[in-house]
Amino acid sequence: MESVKGYFDYNVTDKCISNNFENIAKQLYDFGYHTIAINQTIDESLLEESISEGKKKKKIERQDIVPSPIDAKIIKGCDKLKILNRLTISFTTQDIINRIIKSPNYRKYHIIAAQPESQQAFQFTCTNFEADIFTFNPSTKPNYKMQRKLYYLLVERGVHFEIMYGPAIEDSTKRKNIIATAHMYHSFGKSRNIIISSGITNSFLIRNPYDVINLGLLFGLSDGQAKDAIQNNGRNVYMHGSTVLEFVCWKLY
């Protein structure tokens, strides 16, 4: 298995790709982030639209519901930069998951993140769904009730909880929600298995890893946990992602 090094940033949004990605990647690399993941989100509401459209125009080719992963070129001067692909699934019911898992594009992603938007989806994520990262939408309050038991269930299965700091810089409502969620993780699960990622949309939002560690303290983590959040836990996510992938392949053949 390939080794992953340096600091981790698992949430570089796909908006950055069209918008001067080279510059952003270089900045991240200079700061010491040697493993980054490009995030692509699929939203349930958008999928439903495509289904209804499909019914109207039956003969039109049915596209894959999962977009194909963005293939980022190796950037000059940062050869050691490892770029992964991450898929975030935002969902309210589990029906959509089955369709997504069957898609051939699904297996091309290194990391899968779940973003449940309802109590039912949250239960499903905790018990059945093989995700690597558990994330949330910073612009709204969570629609589900966190329980200590379910938190530990996710921890046992090696799922990591994501906190992003990019939206917290942009907007004060998002900042409020992010800090509230971070403190919720603190009170329910003693902030175990937390990763901090950027969620950046432009280069002004990139922050130094040491700033991020310091920010971790404000999110209710201890000194060690804050450091783990961008270093060791990031490595664990990668390992978890690749072992799940291998297991799926092994099952297929």
């Binding site: 700091y165 917290a168 810089i169 942009e170 004060s172 900042r175 432009n202 002004f204 939002l205 990139i206 922050r207 130094n208 040491y210 700033d211 991020v212 310091n214 920010l215 303290l217 404000l218």
Partner: protein
């Protein structure tokens, strides 16, 4: 005990007074009025590079640095603070084992 921070500001040229004022506003924005009253000093300011050495007490260091991280806008335009080095000893800002060339 004091911490000394070597920071620079990425946006536009500003004077030392405006620089300090913006730091105070950023703290106020994140932690409110009471936290905005924490004592800190701009020890040295270089307007050509918009780079400064700031000192803050140990008790307020985490909040202070946190609000620098979360500062995103200056007069409606995106901005950022880059923290180059932090040390409890002013002399170590000059050089340390990380920058030492053998």
């Amino acid at each position: 005990m004091y911490y000394y921070l070597d920071i620079s500001f990425v946006n536009q040229d500003i004077t030392a007074a405006l620089f300090k004022n913006h730091i105070i506003t950023s703290i106020k924005h994140v932690f409110g009025e009471i936290a905005a009253a924490i004592p800190f000093d701009v020890v040295k300011y270089d307007p050509s590079e918009i780079r400064a050495i700031v000192r803050v007490t140990q008790d307020h260091y985490v909040k202070f640095r946190g609000s620098l991280t979360l500062a995103g806008y200056y007069q409606g335009k995106p901005c950022a603070y880059i923290v180059h080095k932090v040390s409890p000893l002013l002399l170590s800002l000059l050089g340390d084992s990380r920058t030492y060339v053998h």
